[in-house]
Symmetry: C2
Amino acid sequence: MTEEPVQTDSSLGHHPHSPPLTHNPKEIWKKGGRMFSVLLAINLVLLACTLVSSAAFNQVAVHDYDVFFMLTIVMLICIAWILFYLIVTAKRQNAILYKDSHAGPVWLRGGLVLFAIFTLVMDVFKTGYYSSFYNCLSAIKIIYPIVQAVFVIVQTYFLWISAKDCIHVHLNVTRCGLMLTLTTNLAVWMSAVTDESVHKSHTKFQNTTEGTHRWIMKGNLPINGCSCNSQICQIFQSGYFWLYPFNIEYSLFASAMLYVMWKNVGRLIDHHTHHIHQLKFRLFRKTFFVGIVLGLFILVSGLAVLIVYEVQVNTSGQPDKKNEALIMYYTFNIVCLSLMSLVCIGGSIVYRFDKRDMDHHKNPTRTLDMALLLGAALGQYAISYYSIVAVVASTPRDAVSALNLTYSLLMIAQHTFQNIFIIEGLHRQPPEDDHKIHPHRKDLYGLTFVNINAVSLRVPESSSALPSPLPHGQGAVAIQPSDVVQSIMVPKKVKWRRKFLKEISLFLLLCNIILWIMPAFGARPQFDNVKELNFYGYSMWAAIVDICLPFGIFYRMHAVASLLEVYIMS
Amino acid sequence: MTEEPVQTDSSLGHHPHSPPLTHNPKEIWKKGGRMFSVLLAINLVLLACTLVSSAAFNQVAVHDYDVFFMLTIVMLICIAWILFYLIVTAKRQNAILYKDSHAGPVWLRGGLVLFAIFTLVMDVFKTGYYSSFYNCLSAIKIIYPIVQAVFVIVQTYFLWISAKDCIHVHLNVTRCGLMLTLTTNLAVWMSAVTDESVHKSHTKFQNTTEGTHRWIMKGNLPINGCSCNSQICQIFQSGYFWLYPFNIEYSLFASAMLYVMWKNVGRLIDHHTHHIHQLKFRLFRKTFFVGIVLGLFILVSGLAVLIVYEVQVNTSGQPDKKNEALIMYYTFNIVCLSLMSLVCIGGSIVYRFDKRDMDHHKNPTRTLDMALLLGAALGQYAISYYSIVAVVASTPRDAVSALNLTYSLLMIAQHTFQNIFIIEGLHRQPPEDDHKIHPHRKDLYGLTFVNINAVSLRVPESSSALPSPLPHGQGAVAIQPSDVVQSIMVPKKVKWRRKFLKEISLFLLLCNIILWIMPAFGARPQFDNVKELNFYGYSMWAAIVDICLPFGIFYRMHAVASLLEVYIMS
């Protein structure tokens, strides 16, 4: 008889201050398991970073095949783990109790598959290119693209079917496996970015300043007379460099999805807040076509500008033509960025009047989206600030410098306003809520409208929309009836507001696509405009641009995905 | 009669899925205000970063007085805001409803004041140094240290009295002001680190490789014949360079405290979880003096090693002496790091058996502590990985290389284990809980011990400590009585365990102090050991070390503060 109360009390006595403890033992050790996998990832990323950066420099005795060797090994380990996950872990009883409805939306997975296909084509080209001079190279250069192709196929399949999983068995193994795969993708990304930058800087400076800058970076120099002379080899080489942007984006997409999966390991989702939004992608419905038409116009003219710019800058050696091309490029960008900034400000103002509830539920996907947008914007910010300082501090001030300054300032403004707009958009409840309550609300009105006079009688001060023939102050027992009237007037305003937001997000989406295409496919005004190059010196400016620009390009890519989500949600 | 239910329903209808919403309007707009101040901070940090990094390089036309000019202006703005806060904001009614008990503990504020005093001395030296050749310099070089001194005094007073505030008026102004002050501290930190690195690389290479590396970095070169020749000027110069480490730490301490204040703006603290731990600093009580004695021994021998090392490396030009000094330095570090790693592993094992509750309350200070520990460790990780690659890949393998490799590997291991130990320690409930429940528990035992036989009778399977003369299986109605027995046995074990943890944290604390002193006061084996220098080339290796080492030094400093907290809590 005495034991029962003693036990209860003593177990209570352990936590005298504790609020209702919802942490089960699993929850408590989550941090430990997470920390171990994070430490593993940090160490692997740093090792990869060291090797990749060492291999990029000529005077360092680390070669690119050392990097390929490491990458091949970690890829093989990842493939083994993914197969283990698909065959053993996911098949266990109670392995996947919940699915995170926000993780891995269909457009992200679709984009992943698209980029995976281009990456596979790139791997074919790479294998073909290296096979052309098979005898002079170490075997790892041919093995690497083949292993990468297998890795891409296995990983894409894995992410397609498992992106939403909240796994509840083999917690620590799964965490480490996910972090390992994530790290591998980051290492591949670093290697691809470095390889592309080295290649770009070589083609850029091959003719103009031969010899002076050559020593800084390694490249695919002809070794022992095994040069790439046959036409098919040339096609392979230029083909795989054109496909690099897709491989880079593939790695980043996969990393983002793996991170969300890692956050979801062992997660218990509250069924209360777990409402799946079956959002349908209804393109062009409920829009006036203004956003899409204007956006497409900018997209097409941007492509034209890019082609003309590339031709004028790369083929002609005349500085006049180059200057013209730069002026054209900057003018187009300034117009585009100004429009985008204005539209973002307009969108943010519309959100100010939006009475939809803020969505504050836990949502790792959205938190990651925000962090990536803010983090990736730092790349472009940094380039812009360095440009601004260079232009302001150096003396000969011509038209190109003025345009460059405006362009840099607008870049900063546009990134800032766009981030604010996207983050506000992502934090709104989807409009499905309105749809669902409409039938319900109609019933209420049906009930109220029996005595419609009683409503119009009580709302003299708030409504110019409703005709109120009676003089003011008549409703003696008006218990805040403006609420009722507002809910009658809301649909029209909401409709207009939602149309406006849809226009805005479509326009911004198309603009971001062209601003992604331009740097991803070779436009480098940062190097064609000699101002910063002379101010900072080649090596410093190249380091700044080569480190920061990949983040800027990724920002555009990620903004497109986020704007698509904002479009669907508004 | 009909309006009331209509209103209630329609207001409910807006959130059909919503869980109990606890977000008041203030909470909802918190994100907006935060984002704005973060964007402000990002932009200012990037601008400062651009200016500081540009000013560090010789061929760039940005000068250090440009940086000083910018810093002086933002410091003046910060001083104005701090005065506004102290005089207007904090005096308003209901301005400070809550105090965060975790923020700004007394040792952090004490450390801040200590570093502030050294910074003031440094400012005096700096003013004296620049006044020596007053005529050749722009006035900003003398104004800057004076403004900095005022800023340090105002800021230290502000942080001393306001570090715990959770302010509830002027939210946006306060957020922006705090972020501005935080950014200013980071900018001062960047400027100080760069200035120190430039100075170090100058003194290092003044004699040995004159001319070859000189062009890379700017320094305090004599301008127009205004060189520092008088003895007092020399004293001022060397004095202020010796005091730089304290200024660097001051800026980082202030930044950390400002960040916690920023997180606490507008925070509503649940009084339920708001239990202030009146932890007293009882040094040397409940310890066996093993940790402190061993730690002091290592501290003193480390100081001796540092002095001998500095003398041998800097004064003698003989490579033999230099090699000896390096071997001594590495050996000492290897012994120290091995001991620390072992002790950390031991501590983590002890925590495995610790049944104290994990503390999962919201605590911005602790979250920041963890993030800073993990983030700052990246600096040392990066240096170690680059060293490892250099040593493994280069061919002449002598004793120094082997020691360097061991040292780098142990650095990685020690950082990892120490982070795990500290983070586990910070997540425990303080032992006060045990004290408070003891009287309560004693009552329970008093009640139980009336029939002491009944207890010992029912615990045959779990206790070897309690004598149980009766054969097994006698207690027929034993309803899990092991709980009761364990709570009788706990105090002894807990006492032993806590003593052990106290020893460990004191030992680690002292070791971290010596590992902070060594690099902070000039030991640079990374440059004295020519292996990495030859492997990566001077400019790349200098960039790696100069960017990463300040984080490594900050890590040691921060680990000391965290270990002190672990010591007090265990």
